[in-house]
């Protein structure tokens, strides 16, 4: 594990993209930053600027009007990046998507589920409604294990 892999593992900067939802998962993410669970000791900083961050956290079922926003945030994040879907709504639409009920605002995929991976490729799924801050830290540790596989893609210098 070279110097660069070590540095990428020890310093994950987070951007939190909130796409609809009840804010329960967002409060638990904010709780992970409080002194009790302090993810800054693991090197994590909450930089809500997609251009600065390595880890993109998505919460909430992604309604149709937030899809272009999420896609834009994903494109603005430089490689190598990890996408985490936190909470039941970001994994498969959660409580807002049901079999026989046609929700007008959430777009569904082929397997009739909603969630973030209809819009962007997701690397780690963290279940919970909302997940405990410790579960979020566990998900972050799993995500960082996957980071050495992500290489820099070819020059993407003129994207927005």
């Amino acid at each position: 594990m070279g110097l660069i892999d070590w540095a990428r593992k020890k310093s994950p900067w987070i951007t939190h993209a909130h796409c609809g939802g009840c804010n329960g998962c967002d409060i638990e993410i904010a709780a992970a930053l409080t002194p009790r669970f302090d993810i800054e000791r693991l090197g994590c900083l909450l930089k809500n600027n997609p251009r600065y961050s390595d880890v993109l956290i998505i919460t909430g079922p992604v309604p149709k009007h937030t899809e272009p926003m999420l896609l834009r945030i994903y494109q603005q994040t430089p490689d190598p990046k990890i996408v985490m879907a936190i909470g039941e709504c970001a994994i498969a639409g959660g409580i807002y998507v049901e079999e026989g009920y046609d929700n007008y605002s959430i777009a569904r995929g082929a397997d009739n589920a909603g969630g973030a991976d209809k819009v962007v490729p997701v690397d780690v799924y963290v279940p919970g409604c909302p997940p405990k801050p410790e579960a979020i830290i566990h998900g972050l540790a799993l995500a960082l294990k996957k980071l050495p596989e992500k290489k820099l893609k070819a020059k993407a210098s003129n994207t927005r």
């Binding site: 110097l3 660069i4 070590w6 540095a7 990428r8 020890k10 310093s11 002194p35 302090d38 800054e40 000791r41 090197g43 930089k47 809500n48 600027n49 251009r51 600065y52 390595d54 603005q76 430089p78 490689d79 190598p80 820099l152 893609k153 020059k155 993407a156 210098s157 003129n158 994207t159 927005r160």
Partner: protein, 311 residues
């Protein structure tokens, strides 16, 4: 021979490597103390180094509507200007690698370049956050640069010299300038809070308001250069204050003078951290009027003191 000595000074001591390592230590100290004062544990000692290596290894995105040449070269100019400033600041020994009569003025000039580069970064990235951030940076700069300059002039008057090395030499034997002119010391300390964008005055980079201010659109390698510049700026802030007012080295033999300087600069960093943790962010108009009310009168009193006593 002397070219090799200059190269060693430029690259190693007190050039890039020494300043980067000491700046890394100060930045880590700031983050750790800030965390500990908030009941948290704080990052481990290698954190600023890991941040910079990670940033230098990410891909850099230049926005399509940005002015590409200016965008890229501003980051480089920031880094190079701060690197050049390092040669003018004595780090332990009584004289800097570049020392001549009037180098205090050259230092003032070089210290003006980082805020100006920040001001130019904003509009060059064609982002509305950048424009607002550079607007705020200009106003803040007007506020603190006046107090800074007047205080430096009062120091130059008091010690009858315009060379930083002579000022450091004159403070040997505990006749530190902080005891002789505490008003100028207080004024320069408060201006350092503004220069480093620490808490009551981190207005140009206000996270909750304008994403990241002037440097919003920088990513990857350019952001790595900007973070290295920030680390070096921590070194300059601590060591410059220790040189000007706390004796800076005290004329001791070589390893002890560096340790002495680092202890004094760490105390400066500790005080800056306390100010940062205990304050909330000011609005830009509040910051400007505050600078008009307290540091500028303090520096004027220091100037008057220098006229009366300094002779």
């Amino acid at each position: 021979m002397s070219f090799l000595m200059y190269l060693a000074d430029f690259l190693i001591y007190p050039g890039l490597v020494f300043a980067f390592v000491v700046g890394w230590f100060f930045y880590w100290l700031f983050r750790k103390l800030r965390a500990r004062m908030q009941y948290r544990r704080g990052p481990p000692w290698f954190q600023p180094f890991a941040d910079i290596i990670k940033l230098l290894s990410k891909s850099s995105i230049v926005p399509k509507t940005a002015h590409r040449k200016l965008f890229v070269w501003l980051a480089v100019v920031l880094f190079v200007s701060i690197w050049a400033t390092l040669m003018f600041i004595p780090a332990g020994s009584s004289s800097a690698p570049i020392a001549f009569f009037g180098d205090l003025i050259a230092l003032l000039y070089l210290l003006l370049i980082p805020p100006l580069v920040f001001v130019a970064c904003g509009p060059s990235s064609s982002s509305p956050y950048g424009s607002i951030g550079s607007n705020r940076e200009v106003v803040l700069m007007l506020a603190y640069e006046s107090a800074f300059t007047i205080a430096i002039i009062s120091i130059a008057f008091m010690t009858r010299s315009l060379s930083l090395s002579v000022i450091v030499g004159q403070q040997s034997g505990f006749s530190w300038l902080i005891f002789r002119n505490p008003f100028a010391a207080a004024a320069i300390f408060l201006c350092l809070v503004g220069k480093l964008h620490l808490k009551p005055f981190d207005i140009p980079e206000a996270e909750q308001e304008i994403v990241a201010g002037t440097v919003t659109e920088y990513s990857g390698k350019f952001l790595g250069l900007i973070e290295i510049s920030r680390t070096l700026l921590w070194y300059i802030a601590g060591v410059l204050f220790a040189d000007l007012f706390l004796g800076g080295g005290d004329g001791l033999p070589p390893p002890w003078c560096v340790i002495d300087l680092l202890i004094k600069a760490s105390i400066v960093v500790f005080t800056l951290t306390i100010v940062n943790v205990a304050s909330a962010r000011y609005r830009i108009d509040q910051a400007f009027t505050w600078y008009l009310k307290i540091p500028i009168p303090l520096s004027l009193i220091g100037l008057a003191l220098a006229f009366v006593i300094g002779g």
